[in-house]
Symmetry: C2
Subunit: 209 residues, 2 copies
Amino acid sequence: MKIQGISTQTLRRLPYYLNYLVNCEADGGYISAAAVASALKLNEVQVRKDLATVCQVRGVPKKGFPVSDLIEGLRDCLGQNNVHDAILVGAGNLGRALLSYKGFEQYGLNIIAAFDIKEGEADGKKIFPLEKLPDIINRLSIKIAVITVPGDVAQQVCDILTSNGILAVWNFAPAHLTVPDGVLVQNENMASSLAVLSNHLKSRMEGSE
Amino acid sequence: MKIQGISTQTLRRLPYYLNYLVNCEADGGYISAAAVASALKLNEVQVRKDLATVCQVRGVPKKGFPVSDLIEGLRDCLGQNNVHDAILVGAGNLGRALLSYKGFEQYGLNIIAAFDIKEGEADGKKIFPLEKLPDIINRLSIKIAVITVPGDVAQQVCDILTSNGILAVWNFAPAHLTVPDGVLVQNENMASSLAVLSNHLKSRMEGSE
DNA sequence: TTCTTATCGATAACGTTTTATCAATTATAC
DNA sequence: GTATAATTGATAAAACGTTATCGATAAGAA
């Protein structure tokens, strides 16, 4: 059963739907696409399409969609019903920050080990030396890795990861990573977001002067 | 002079160009769009278009683009030539993590104060109570705010911010924010990224079984 | 100087994502 | 039971972003 073919942009909206639906459950069990759209400032048709892509829940004319079914479908699609174990490489500033952040588990990600060139400890967790990477990845059959190393070594680290079976990389390093086919890189580039922010601010400031 | 109209997606690529160019300056001063494209795994034409949008640097046939001019143009466009002061609201796990992260200044963002319901201290910086927000924003004429509060109070915090003149919000809270016209919300939604990751992993695992 | 060729810049084709339109459906009121 | 109105789902149109094509340009070689 292939559930293939959900576009990235749809996927990125799903957590917003889920968040909204979970906090709005009070309304008697059904909600309309229009209501969701207006709350999330999205287009009504887009909401319907997104929901249709995700789960086989049929909407009922004059009522809307059954909220709990939607939540179930979204959770399932987002993999929040089963937690994935992950490792983190690079226990510098940002790495430690993420290690201490407790919010990931809620979304189905469990960081079970961290690695760095120099051993140490962060947030009560032991930091392993890089040499132990292959062994641990294989032994625990980890598929997800978070990269928080400096940009200039990111590719190198990434190669080690993919050659040991990592299938999904969450890359916080400000660098482009090349990976084998079938491996996904999700870039969480703070610089990119800042670029958008700054630029907006700039045109606002220039516009008003 | 309106520099308006740079698409979000182009903007998000700019930091990659900048990063690459800064680390590749050795080549005699010129670089071709093709070279950049192949290094960053982008389309050659796209690179030309992006660069053309950003700065008025003309490429020279048979040579390429003058690297230092590109860097200058990119830095300027990204606002990295002048640092913006910002504040952070929500000194929980993630907030403290970001406060301790030293990498933002490099990109032109300087977090000068942090706020939370409960006062305290993090990373050597004092955390101010929320009541002080309006005063500090106005006195220092801050335009950028980072939101790292829990999702259920994010909107409320956001309202305080925008009503005091904040023009750009970098939102790490897992919630949709409604803002007045002219204010930009840049969502850094970890959940969205995880959604993409998980889904990929899921279809990979199902595909191979 | 002239020729060759790499590279640009502009324009056009393509694909994807978003938005609009409208007939079909069914809960609710009368 | 019938009419009404809200809502869906499908199809079409529009907007946007990416990729391909091709003539123009100038560097460097002959």
